[in-house]
């Protein structure tokens, strides 16, 4: 199983499936970094709404993926963390420190499409 990555205009949307193995997560990280370059993407949404559990390894990996995207020039948002998953993460002591999170895909895309400082003169 791999992570489907869709291109939507300037942005990439990656939907992480439940119970992704560590190797698959690592492949996904490589793949996403490569596509950000190929498509010159400005933003990445990582959707984890299908994920039923984020342990310390998965959290660290997703956070790394988000930070790598940013270094490659694309903002990243992690969306769709389920309530139970969020609750267990926080109890465990985990966070996506330094990474933006949003409720779902729609909010994530809205965040990426928000007017930014650089757009000031345009309108």
């Amino acid at each position: 199983m791999t992570v489907p990555i869709l291109k939507q205009g300037d942005h990439l949307i990656a939907s992480v499936q439940s119970a992704l193995s560590d190797a698959e997560l690592t492949d996904f990280a490589d793949e996403l970094a490569e596509r950000v370059g190929r498509f010159r993407s400005r933003g990445v949404v990582i959707d984890v709404s299908a994920v039923d559990l984020l342990d310390s390894f998965a959290t660290r990996t997703l956070r790394t993926i988000a930070l790598v995207s940013r270094l490659r020039g694309a903002e990243a948002v992690i969306v769709g963390i389920q309530p139970d998953v969020a609750f267990a993460m926080v109890q465990l002591g985990l966070s996506f420190e330094g990474v933006t999170t949003a409720l779902d895909l729609e909010e994530g895309l809205a965040y990426l499409r928000r007017p930014k400082e650089g757009d000031l003169g345009v309108r």
Partner: protein
């Protein structure tokens, strides 16, 4: 005891199996909602540690009772290298493997009880328990 479940852990796919079994048994013990995810997350941490630090081992899952309250007992056992400094290993942020070092202390926060017995060169046994409310 018909409720005993054993999952051999030698690869990452076994970690996924162990947490699925844990979720199932916790539901059978009467846990629901976010408790199922909490228990599965704790199992994931100790199972991953087996793969990462001891190569192989096993997870034993059992329904138990405390003062009539049902609960779940999780035993993660391996014959790996053991933990040299257990006190440090139980502290947030300590990792010899480049991890976040939140596995053991985090699992302790997720469960009601967590004990570790470890001997250098002999192996490690982590026992965790959680009781229904």
């Amino acid at each position: 005891m018909s409720d005993d479940v054993r999952v051999a852990v030698a690869a990452e796919s076994d970690v996924l199996a162990a947490r699925q079994e844990g979720r199932r048994l916790a539901a059978a013990a009467g846990f629901s909602g976010s408790d199922l995810t909490i228990i599965a997350t704790a199992i994931s941490e100790v199972a991953r540690n087996i793969v990462h630090y001891a190569t192989r081992g096993e997870i034993l899952l059992r329904v138990a009772h405390l003062d009539g309250r049902p609960g779940i007992v999780v035993v993660a056992r391996d014959e790996g290298p053991g933990i040299p400094d257990l006190e440090q290993a139980l502290q947030d942020g300590y990792s010899t493997g480049g991890g976040l070092g939140l596995g053991l202390p985090g699992a302790r926060r997720l469960m009601d009880e967590l004990e570790v017995v470890t001997e250098l060169g002999r192996g490690t046994t982590v026992t965790m328990r959680k009781w229904t409310a």
